[in-house]
Amino acid sequence: MNRIADNKPRPEVQRWSKKFWESTKQGKLSVQKCMDCQQYIFPPRLVCPNCLSENVEWVVISGRGKVWTFAALEPAGVPRLFKDDFPYVPALIELEEGVRMASHVIQCDPTDVYIGMPVEVVFEKLDDEFTLPKFKPLIK
């Protein structure tokens, strides 16, 4: 059986971003941090884009953040390959460490999503190779 999910686009991984995807498989959200200028870096880079230092390390981050902006899709706006995922809300998440990440807000009614909404990471297995970080409302 050829399921829709089998045709969904997989991340095209760069050599220097492998650790991000190894980390999500273990249920951890990691980004790079420049050990010279202390800046958090995402998406992953070969060197720190701020100071061009090669002294860049991977750090596990909290996985908490806020919705910076979002798209509350209606059924007609959902791409064909993502119909099985619906309802989900594609959003730009601003993480506590200051970096922004494109992802989905899930496990809630799409009409409840708003700018500034506190969220936390959840991990969704796509296949044996990839686990995608997604976000759900943070219940305090």
């Binding site: 969904k8 686009p9 997989r10 991340p11 095209e12 991984v13 760069q14 971003s17 998406p43 910076w68 902006t69 979002f70 798209a71 509350a72 899709l73 209606e74 007609a76 706006g77 959902v78 791409p79 064909r80 390959l81 993502f82 995922d85 594609p90 959003a91 730009l92 922004r100 990440m101 494109a102 992802s103 989905h104 799409p110 009409t111 700018i115 796509l126 990839f130 995608l132």
Partner: protein, 395 residues
């Protein structure tokens, strides 16, 4: 010291729309011949050809063009010194102008023919075309696996802009209505039927804030223009001078853009106004690059035509439509003329020149002296503002 300016002396354009029989090479030839005639030059004066490639037929078109196809077609063998492709997506026209300026000032070129052609309307199914554009605009590692596409990008901008400014959905819909009013007067536009604010809002509902009417449709199209020095242009029938250019390159994907409700148009515009010695009040029109209605409001404000959050009121009051005090996108813009890939910025430049040459027919803005156009590539990764004028006193 004042820098020597350049000028556009001739333009050519084919109708935008769905023309399966019309090849990119044919578009390139038709528009080039029209531009040569419009400039009133001998074709043998052309010593440089700069081409912006087709997304629909990248390999074939660019390789043919870069290896001298137009030189053969126009009988310019052994005359042209430089023949190359320049591509930065939707901002290709602005970068072509900058490179043309450099070649002319350096004394390496006198008369430059610039061409764009594409067939995004008829080269494949809508899904195939969407895939070509998707891979050109979104990140295959951090965006595409999440289904981030044009609808999502537009909503991200819209929701954040509405949150920060209080602009209404009716005001955003008024942008589409305004563009279509202009397109009705443009025989080259693909979408010429008027559409009301209510009809925009009742089109296919895609998200909580956007409908299918907020988006571009991919079409076939192309245009050409001829650039020379301002000095040499004075011999041309109706030269249009490039008075100021300002640009900022920001990022490569929307996820990393620091401010998606402003981008860097303000900085680019300030640079262009300063070079031209002009202000927003001097502009008789603005041709604003956009493939989402929302972008016209943002750029209108960043260019200094309205305070932050007030552009919606201008469009809703009809001030940017035909007969309004600040005409915007007099060819219908990308939404109504049609999205031709890298050609959207070309079409807006051509329209700006056409208005300043007094060749805009029914949609001619009376006594237009100065105007500007903007352009941007990818998912708005750069901002270009170009100020043009037909008054040699401004040089």
């Amino acid at each position: 010291m004042k820098r020597e300016k350049i000028a556009i002396i001739g333009i050519g354009e084919v109708p935008t729309g769905f023309f399966p029989e019309r090849s990119c090479k044919e578009i390139a030839m038709q528009t080039s011949l029209e531009a040569i005639q419009d400039a009133g030059i001998d074709k043998n004066e052309i010593d440089t050809i700069l081409v912006t490639g087709a997304l629909s037929d990248r390999m074939s078109f660019e390789i043919h063009m870069a290896t001298g196809r137009m030189i053969e077609e126009l009988g310019l063998g052994n005359r042209v010194k430089t023949n190359a492709c320049i591509f930065s997506g939707g901002s290709s026209s602005a970068n072509t102008l900058k490179i043309a300026e450099g070649l002319i000032r350096a004394g390496r070129a006198n008369v430059i023919l610039c061409i764009h052609a594409d067939k995004l309307g008829t080269c494949g199914t809508p899904e195939q075309v969407e895939n070509i554009l998707r891979n050109a605009v979104f990140c295959p590692e951090w965006e595409i696996p999440y289904g981030i596409n044009g609808v999502v990008l537009c909503d991200w901008i819209m929701n954040r802009y509405i949150y920060e400014t209080g602009t209404t959905l009716e005001q955003i819909a008024a942008v589409v209505e305004s563009n279509r009013k202009w397109a009705r007067l443009n025989p080259h536009a693909a979408f010429r039927d008027e559409i009301s604010v209510e009809e925009v809002m009742k089109a296919t509902i895609l998200t909580s804030v956007s409908t299918s009417a907020h988006f571009q449709t991919y079409t076939d199209g192309g245009s050409a223009f001829i650039v020379t020095s301002a000095e040499r242009a004075k011999e041309a029938p109706k030269p249009v001078y490039v008075l100021g250019m300002g640009s900022r390159c920001i990022n490569s994907i929307i996820t990393t853009c620091p401010d998606i409700t402003r981008f860097s148009y303000k900085e680019a515009a300030e640079e262009a106004y300063e070079e031209a010695g002009l202000t927003p009040k001097d502009m008789n029109f603005a041709q604003i690059f956009e493939w989402y209605a929302i972008m016209q409001l943002i750029v209108f404000e960043e260019l200094g035509f309205a305070e932050r959050g007030k552009a919606g009121e201008y469009f809703a009051a009809g001030k940017c439509a035909p007969g309004g005090e600040m005409p915007v996108n007099t060819n219908g813009g990308i939404l109504a003329q049609g999205h031709t890939g890298a050609g959207g910025g070309y079409a807006l430049l051509i329209e700006a020149v056409r208005q300043l040459k007094g060749q805009a027919g029914e949609r001619q803005i009376p006594n237009a002296r100065y105007g500007l156009y903007t352009s941007s590539g990818g998912s708005f990764f750069d901002c270009h503002v170009t100020i043009l004028g037909n008054d040699s006193a401004a040089l």
